[in-house]
């Protein structure tokens, strides 16, 4: 064990803070995390703020302003290991829906003085701007996987974060398939596992919060959605949700737009 605790910094970009809260919700493991890391920056938990450089930086949110482009580069320069946490940081998040529209139009509609707003036309993941050492998916990510990634970092091993479909979690949990059994359109077959089988185990179709699985076949699933009675608009919305900017989901949504 190293004499000095690694310094951990948690940073917020364009986001709802849910990913940081997922980390804060790791109640049983929080003391162990605080014991093994020096918490240098974590605004959801403490006002204390230590200077860099940092051993591990965890980035929440997407890049949506010119200022954030500068900030992420600065944090990268100060961080040895950089983790993008959650759908926004790994895929641009739900706010990447702006990428399909004219943001200028929104600004004029929403703000009395749109000229005060300095924003980018797109919301993009961290990896579009800096090299990222590990991406942990989810909207929000699973606390269990967050602890696994931090534990794997400490042990110097690869984290157990499989890229297979959500269907594996359903079958391992014994959840009866909501699509085969209930005719409910479910993104599970094209979505990466990891959430803990949240929606299907409660009779809902998967919303695709964890983004595309390792080898997604979106056109085949979309064709089946059509057979289940979903029209083009429904299918577009299923793929244009929390991870609309990922290659597989973007391409499929555009086929129905």
């Amino acid at each position: 064990m190293p004499a000095r605790k690694p310094k951990l910094a948690v940073w917020k970009f364009t986001s709802c803070d849910g990913c940081q809260l997922s980390l804060l919700d790791c109640e049983d493991d929080l003391l162990a995390i605080a014991d093994r890391f020096e918490i240098a920056v974590f605004l959801e938990a403490t006002r204390h703020r230590a200077r860099g450089p940092y051993d591990v930086s965890v980035l929440e949110g997407s890049v949506s302003t010119p200022h954030e482009v500068e900030r992420v580069r600065d944090i990268r320069r100060q961080s040895k290991f950089l983790i993008a946490l959650g759908a926004c940081a790994t895929a641009g998040g739900i706010q990447a829906l702006r990428n399909f529209r004219d943001v200028r139009g929104f600004l004029d509609l929403v703000y009395a003085r749109p000229d005060h707003i300095d924003t980018l036309p797109t919301s993009t993941p961290m990896a579009d701007h800096v090299p990222v050492d590990f991406e942990l998916r989810g909207c929000p990510p699973s606390g269990k996987q967050i602890v696994e990634v931090l534990g794997a970092y400490l042990a110097g091993r690869k984290p157990v974060v499989p890229g297979h479909s959500q269907c594996v979690e359903c079958k391992v949990a014994g959840t009866v398939c909501v699509m085969v059994n209930g005719g409910i359109p479910c993104m599970g077959p094209v979505t990466q596992a990891g959430c803990g089988n949240l929606c299907p185990s409660r009779g809902r179709g998967c919303y695709g919060c964890f983004g595309p699985m390792e080898t997604p076949n979106a056109p085949s699933l979309a064709a089946w959605f059509g057979r289940l009675g979903q029209d083009s608009r429904d299918i577009l919305r299923l793929f244009r949700n929390y991870n609309p900017e990922t290659a597989a989901f973007r391409a499929e949504s555009e086929r129905h737009g």
């Binding site: 093994r36 042990a155 297979h164 269907c167 594996v168 079958k171 085969v180 080898t215 056109p219 089946w224």
Partner: protein, 368 residues
Amino acid sequence: MDAAAVFERTELGRLVAILAADGYRVIGPTRRGTAIVYGDIAGDADFAIGLIDEQEGGTYRLREVDDPRVFNATAGQTSCRQYLFAPRQRLWSAERTGTGFRLAEDSAGAEPPLAFIGVRACDLAAVGVQDRVFGGHYPDPRYMMRRRRALIVAVACARAGNTCFCASMGGGPEVGPGHDLALTELVDGGRHVFVAETGSERGALLLARLDPRPATGAEIAAARAQTEAVKGRMGREMVAGGPEAIRANPEHPRWHEVAGRCLTCTNCTLVCPTCFCSTAEDVADLGNARTERWQRWDSCFTLDFSYIHGGSVRKTAASRYRQWITHKLSTWWDQFGMSGCVGCGRCIAWCPVGIDITEEARAIRDSQ
């Protein structure tokens, strides 16, 4: 069936009670939401009575029927597999002790023994396949422990589903070896009985506690006729020569056609009652004092499954689908001296996009 006995429908609840009193965890077909699954049975009311399943590629629905039969549904999503070959189980754990570490191995010995009631012929055949796999050169101690202690009451099907093809795979509908008791449910007017045959000493002792009487010739004939009739009602068929054609055509264009539909989601393999692949996951605590090794179901449809140094061997969906179906229908014979498919049809119904193993085999055979 010469030494068959008969017991009344009303004795079934007592069978459950006897097994529970003997310390078994009783498992049978029960309703969960809008499906019938293998689940815990505490009493007669837990059986899925008055329901039948309607299945097609990618579709499973229940329908209420005015029929007193207890065992009227065909194969559902689950089988004996998740009880005997647990989806996720800890293999061992290790704790740091000063300069070394201490290992503790997990065994299945502390679990209550399993008693399955209502196991279909195909599912019993599948248990036989997994017995061969897990009991071979390198026996799996957890599977073997559960299997040795398990009691199986099989029931011959009175109806076949749209996705059933056991008759063409030899997996049914007659109940094969491996059971302790084999039942045929007969409903005729006001009469509702089970014709029972014993498959083991344990089964014979159990049957004797159910107040049985010897079966009449007419009852034996009726039971045989019922099972025979099911053969003709299979919704699917594995074509003769299908497995050979698959093996002989590794470069067939059909593999690319099916890959266009295949989601590589793993469902076919995880609902298959004979698939046996697993992976190991290490879980360590943040304090670096304890680590655990867990076994989890895996599938030949994941990239990790064929990952070796430098990458995955089977990158394309075509190569993964071909691997699965070729192994299941053909090379399983080379490995285990039997077919890996029993004809239960689960992979057809629970494929989210309805890919049909019998259709793929037929397409390749017919194109030769």
